[in-house]
């Protein structure tokens, strides 16, 4: 009897096999932690690397001139970032006008209206759209879309903001539609039934119940897609030209019809141009990168804030 009690109590001590089990658990935990930590480490490294070179750049160029200047001509050491910022924002705004309505409408169709058959064709179609390399989009914008828009009577330059922006918009449609559709599909059927039970039509249920209930996810999809548009490079390098131009409020149509440049495209130009790695032109890339990072980071914060505000708990 005593022996038995002793055995029971000793069972609380770890045996050799159990010791190795605990050790294995520690290893699993460590490996998983390292993987999770990697992305944070990379992000911090990128920010530090950008910051170090950007600080050097700001040693050569006055930050005030950089952030308020309206002329970007690296050959003449004029580093005013505003034409590039407005170029980026213009592309983002036009692409949003293309992608948000079409993306949300597709999401509503896929989530609420489509038969299983229609879904099985349309969903892979949208996914293919997401898989097309951006260089192909750039080519299509330059060669076909501009011609097509000219056919509609628009007076466009060979390189122009409009074609590039529309193409960026087309590129991000799948992001809006697939994330929005996920959010709408997650709305419980009990809410749809409540709507139909009150004599609502399909359209009323979709727009009055499902979309509002999925709003936080839908907004998140906008922000993610627009962050993608802000960072898009290849399409704008190929189809929009390389001429930094301030957005002209008095002539918005002209601003769209002619060439322009975004921050990303100026960075490509800086890194590919034939200048030394110590030159301000080369270093400007890091200042631009940091600015771009700050903008997308702010958009992510905004997205989280919006999502938190609209989050609804439904059973």
């Amino acid at each position: 009897m005593d022996d038995q009690i002793r055995t029971e109590s000793t069972r609380l001590q770890l045996t050799g096999g159990e010791r190795s089990r605990v050790a294995r658990e520690r290893v699993y935990r460590l490996v998983l932690f390292l993987c999770a930590a990697l992305s944070v480490v990379v992000t911090v490294t990128i920010v530090v690397a950008l910051a170090v070179d950007a600080v050097e750049f700001f040693g050569m160029v006055d930050p005030v001139d950089f952030f308020t200047g309206t002329t970007w001509v690296t050959a003449r050491d004029q580093f005013g970032v505003l034409p590039l910022v407005t170029g980026t924002l213009l592309v983002t705004a036009v692409s949003a006008l293309v992608a948000i309505p079409i993306g949300v409408a597709s999401a509503i169709y896929l989530s609420e209206y489509a038969s299983p058959r229609a879904r099985s064709v349309l969903k892979p179609g949208l996914e293919i759209l997401a898989g097309i390399p951006t260089v192909v989009y750039g080519y299509l914008a330059l060669i076909y879309l501009t011609d097509f828009l000219r056919g509609l009577g628009l007076d466009l330059g060979t390189f122009n903001v409009l074609s590039a922006s529309i193409m960026v918009g087309i590129m991000i449609i799948p992001m809006v539609s697939s994330l929005s559709e996920d959010a709408m599909s997650a709305v419980p059927d009990s809410l749809r039934e409540a709507g139909y039970g009150l004599g609502a039509t399909k359209y009323e249920v979709s727009t009055g119940i499902v979309v509002p209930a999925a709003l936080s996810g839908i907004f998140s999809s906008f922000i993610l897609a627009l962050s993608r548009a802000i960072g898009e490079t290849m399409i704008v390098v190929m189809a929009m030209g390389l001429r930094p131009r301030m957005f002209d409020l008095t002539d918005p149509v002209g601003s769209l019809a002619e060439s322009g440049q975004t921050m990303t495209s100026a960075m490509v130009q800086a890194v590919t141009s034939d200048v030394g790695a110590a030159s301000p032109t080369y270093k400007s890339m890091f200042a631009l990168g940091l600015t771009l990072f700050a903008i997308t980071f702010a958009m992510n914060l905004l997205s989280n804030a919006i999502a938190a505000r609209h989050r609804e708990e439904y059973q």
Partner: protein
Amino acid sequence: MSSDGAGQGAVTGMADRSEPESRTDDDPERSGATDGAETVIESRDLDVFYGDEQALRGIDLTIPEHRVTALIGPSGCGKSTFLRSINRMNDLIDVARVEGDLLFRGKNVYDEDVDPVALRRKIGMVFQKPNPFPKSIRDNVAYGLEVQGKTDDIDERIHTALERAALIDEVEDRLDESGLDLSGGQQQRLCIARAIATDPEVLLMDEPASALDPVATSKVEDLVEELAQEYTVVIVTHNMQQAARISDKTAVFLTGGELVEAGDTNEIFENPEHDRVEDYITGKFG
């Protein structure tokens, strides 16, 4: 019952068939002659299929006006399916198929010229699990009024509906708070308020108290009895005591999607005709 006469009769061809045609031809046991009330809903040889599976078999049942009709039976017996076939909620299920007649005031609701949206505006529904919209309490009740275009005096209509649903005292000061912040029992009364705000003729209730605690349940039960003075109520319940307490007429569905017996609730509970029904209500199976 309704102060809003204009909204009635909107379903094509329904308005001119007010004559209760069913009272003579049914055998009294089945129709459950509930002291001469008019028949609002009548099913004749109604079959419902989900794909290859038959969920209801040849259901003949009449629902009397301004009474509470309880549909009882074990899980999977088809009582909810029957309820959902009345306002064509089964239309939302791709594989569902209906055969036979389901008459609402004499008009077969499965006729081609019947608009299910118009039908559902006359036949409100309350579901098993409280399902308020993620909107404010006010907007929850307003939703049905808005889609049905009954927006005149909307605040008054909302107030009246919440009053009838015995919820007004608890929410009067917080109509702008989310309906989801209410307790389960309050949410269900909110759903009832939402359903009656538009003044339907019939209220279908699919086990409305099954997710609620006993106190909330008894509140909902009281409410159902109240509502029957103005509405025709059809209520599905698992709970036989509940059926006995609140209903005037009871229909017993048993496994396989058959309606075994229907009639006056007291008759069914005190002196059922079929042994299977007696076994079920005395708890020998199910």
